[in-house]
C-alpha cells in the first residue's frame, strides 16, 4: 500500500503505487517493501517448484539434459561432420529451454497469482518479472557449468567471451520479460492464449537453429530465422563460447534493439491493461 496515493480514473494510467510521497522516509520504506516482495516471490516460487529441496533443483537441469541425450543419439549421426555439434546443441537447448519456460510461466503469472492481485495494491509487474526467476536461475547455473567445463577441457573462453555470453542471456531474459508483460495481461482476457503460445513454441523449436546448424539453411533465409528472438541469442552465444569469435557490433546492436523493442511494446500493453487486471482474474 502506498502513502499519499491518489487513485484516479484513467484506464491507461500506470499501474504502480504513486511515488509522489513528499517525505523521503515513506518512499524508502516503500522501496524496502518492494524488495521484500520481490525476494519473497522468488524464494517461494523456487520452493514451490522444487519442493524446497536443493536436489529438487536437479530436475530443472535434468530435463534439458535428457533431451540432449536423445537428440545427440539421433542427430549426431546426421551432422557427423559438424565441429562441436554436441556442445552447440546443449548450449542451444538450454537457451531455448529458458526462453520457452520463461515465456510460458510469464504468460500465466498474473492468473496464477490472482489471489494476490485481488488482495492489495502493489506494482503488478513484480509478479510477471519475478516469474521468470526460476528459469533464469537454471540458465545461469548451466552457463557456469559450461564455462567451467570449457576451462577444464583446455578450451576456456576469453573473459570477454564470457561477458558477451552474459549479455546474450540478459537480452534473451529481457525479451522473455517483454513478451510476458504483454501476454500476462492479455491472457486474463483470452484464456486460450496459452494454447496458441504452446503451438508457437513447438514450431519455434525447429525455427531456431537448435538441432541443426544454421549453415545447412540457404543463406538467403537466414534473415528470417534471425527475426525469431532465440536465434540471435543462440547463434551469438555459440560463436562467443564455442567458436571463440565475437559477433560484430552491428550484430550486438541488433540483439539489444530487438530486446529493447520487445520490452517497450510489452510495457505499453501492460500499462494499458494491468490497471483492470483484478477485474479479470
Amino acid at each position: 500500500m502506498t502513502v499519499s496515493a491518489e487513485i484516479r480514473t484513467p484506464s491507461t494510467g500506470p499501474d504502480r503505487p504513486a511515488d509522489s510521497a513528499p517525505r523521503p522516509s515513506p518512499r524508502a520504506s516503500a522501496n524496502a517493501s518492494v524488495w521484500g516482495l520481490v525476494w519473497t516471490l522468488v524464494r517461494t516460487d523456487f520452493k514451490a517448484r522444487y519442493h524446497g529441496t536443493p536436489s529438487g533443483f536437479l530436475w530443472a537441469l535434468l530435463k534439458p539434459t535428457a533431451m540432449f541425450v536423445v537428440l545427440v543419439a539421433v542427430f549426431s549421426l546426421i551432422f557427423r561432420g559438424e565441429p562441436n555439434y554436441k556442445l552447440n546443441l546443449i548450449i542451444g537447448l538450454f537457451l531455448w529451454n529458458f526462453f520457452a519456460e520463461a515465456t510460458t510461466v510469464g504468460m500465466g503469472s498474473l492468473a496464477a497469482k490472482g489471489f494476490l492481485v485481488t488482495k492489495a495494491r502493489f506494482p503488478r509487474w513484480i509478479l510477471v518479472v519475478t516469474s521468470i526467476a526460476n528459469a533464469l536461475i537454471t540458465l545461469v547455473v548451466f552457463g557456469a557449468v559450461v564455462t567451467v567445463y570449457l576451462i577444464a577441457t583446455g578450451r576456456g573462453p576469453s573473459p570477454l567471451a564470457v561477458l558477451a555470453f552474459g549479455f546474450y542471456i540478459a537480452c534473451l531474459a529481457t525479451i522473455a520479460i517483454g513478451l510476458s508483460l504483454g501476454s500476462s495481461v492479455l491472457f486474463l482476457r483470452f484464456r486460450d492464449l496459452n494454447q496458441i503460445w504452446d503451438m508457437t513454441t513447438q514450431a519455434g523449436f525447429f525455427l531456431a537453429p537448435i538441432v541443426y546448424p544454421l549453415g545447412v539453411i540457404p543463406e538467403r533465409y537466414h534473415f528470417y530465422l534471425y527475426l525469431w528472438p532465440p536465434t540471435p541469442a543462440i547463434e551469438f552465444s555459440r560463436a562467443a563460447m564455442v567458436a571463440g569469435v565475437l559477433p560484430t557490433s552491428t550484430a550486438h546492436a541488433y540483439l539489444a534493439l530487438m530486446a529493447g523493442g520487445i520490452l517497450s511494446v510489452g510495457i505499453m500493453v501492460f500499462r494499458r491493461y494491468a490497471p483492470r487486471a483484478a477485474e479479470y482474474v
Binding site: 500500500m1 487513485i7 480514473t9 524496502a32 517461494t44 514451490a48 486460450d192 490497471p275
Partner: protein, 255 residues
C-alpha cells in the same frame, strides 16, 4: 495534517455485463458475426465520504449493494470510472478472508507472501511472525503446507495476519464472521487494543451487534448510493429497513 485519512470524492463504478461471456480468442473469432448486448450495471453511484483519524467507520448494505467493490476501490485494487480516492496514509486491506493462500506453501511462507504484498518490509514481517502464528494457534503447524490445513485454521491465520500487519488504517471485510467463541473473543480484544492505539478502521459487516459495539459512525449503502451517514444505532435501523424491502417482501406488500 489533514483531518481525513481517506477522502472518497464522488466515486462511481459500473461493470459491463455482456449477454454472452467470451473468455477465449476462439469464442471472439467465431462470435464476430453475432454481436453481443452489453448491460451496464451501476455498482457505485457518486459515493462520497471521509474517514477521519482514529475513527471506526462501519459500512452496511444488502448483498450486492457495492460494499466490496467500494472497499476494492479504496484499497486501489479496482480503478473507479469517475471520481477520486485520496489516501493520505498506509492501508492494510483484509479482503475476502480465508482465500488467497498458496496451498503449496507452508504457513510461514504464506504469511511472508501476504505480508509483503500488503507492503510490509521483510524485517517487520519477521518480527511479527511469532505473534501471528501464536494468535492463530497454529505454531505447531507452522511448517505444514496450507493445503493440509482445515478451513478453520486457514481463516484463523488470515485473522491473525489482519490484526498484526496493521498500518494506520485497517480495512476489514466481514470480520468476526467465523471462528469459535474463544477465538472471536480474542479477535475482539485485539480489535479494541488497535482502536485504543489510535488506528482507524473501516469495517464491513451484516451484524447489527458488531456495528453497534465497535463503530463510531455507520454508512448505509443501497443501490450504489449512500442513504445514511449517521450514528451506529440509526444506521443499523436504517439497514434493517432496507433488508425488509427485498423484492419478495415488496411483492407481498403490494399483493
Amino acid at each position: 495534517m489533514p483531518a481525513a485519512l481517506i477522502e472518497v470524492d464522488a466515486v462511481s463504478k459500473s461493470f459491463e455485463i455482456p449477454s454472452v461471456r467470451r473468455e477465449t480468442l476462439r469464442e471472439h473469432l467465431f462470435g464476430v458475426l453475432e454481436p453481443r448486448k452489453f448491460e451496464r450495471l451501476q455498482v457505485l453511484d457518486r459515493i462520497s465520504f471521509e474517514l477521519k483519524a482514529g475513527e471506526t467507520l462501519g459500512i452496511m448494505g444488502r448483498n450486492g449493494c457495492g460494499k466490496s467493490t467500494l472497499l476494492k476501490i479504496l484499497c486501489g485494487i479496482y480503478t473507479p470510472d469517475a471520481g477520486a480516492v485520496r489516501v493520505h496514509t498506509g492501508i492494510t486491506p483484509i479482503l475476502e478472508l480465508g482465500v488467497g493462500w498458496n496451498p503449496e506453501l507452508d504457513a510461514i511462507d504464506n504469511v511472508f507472501l501476504i505480508g509483503t504484498v500488503m507492503g510490509l518490509p521483510l524485517r517487520e514481517v519477521e518480527s511479527r511472525l511469532e505473534d501471528i502464528l501464536a494468535f492463530a494457534e497454529v505454531e505447531r503447524f507452522a511448517r505444514l503446507k496450507l493445503k493440509h490445513y482445515s478451513s478453520g485454521m486457514a481463516s484463523r491465520l488470515a485473522y491473525a495476519v489482519a490484526f498484526h500487519a496493521v498500518r494506520e488504517v485497517l480495512v476489514l471485510d466481514e470480520i468476526f464472521a467465523v471462528g469459535d467463541e474463544g477465538f472471536k473473543a480474542k479477535c475482539e480484544n485485539r480489535y479494541r487494543q488497535l482502536r485504543a492505539d489510535g488506528h482507524s478502521i473501516l469495517l464491513v459487516s451484516h451484524a447489527p451487534p458488531v456495528m453497534a459495539a465497535f463503530c463510531d459512525r455507520v454508512i448505509v449503502i443501497e443501490g450504489g448510493r449512500i442513504i445514511a451517514d449517521t450514528d451506529p444505532a440509526s444506521g443499523v435501523s436504517c439497514y434493517i429497513s432496507t433488508t425488509a424491502r427485498t423484492p419478495a417482501a415488496q411483492r407481498e406488500s403490494t399483493a
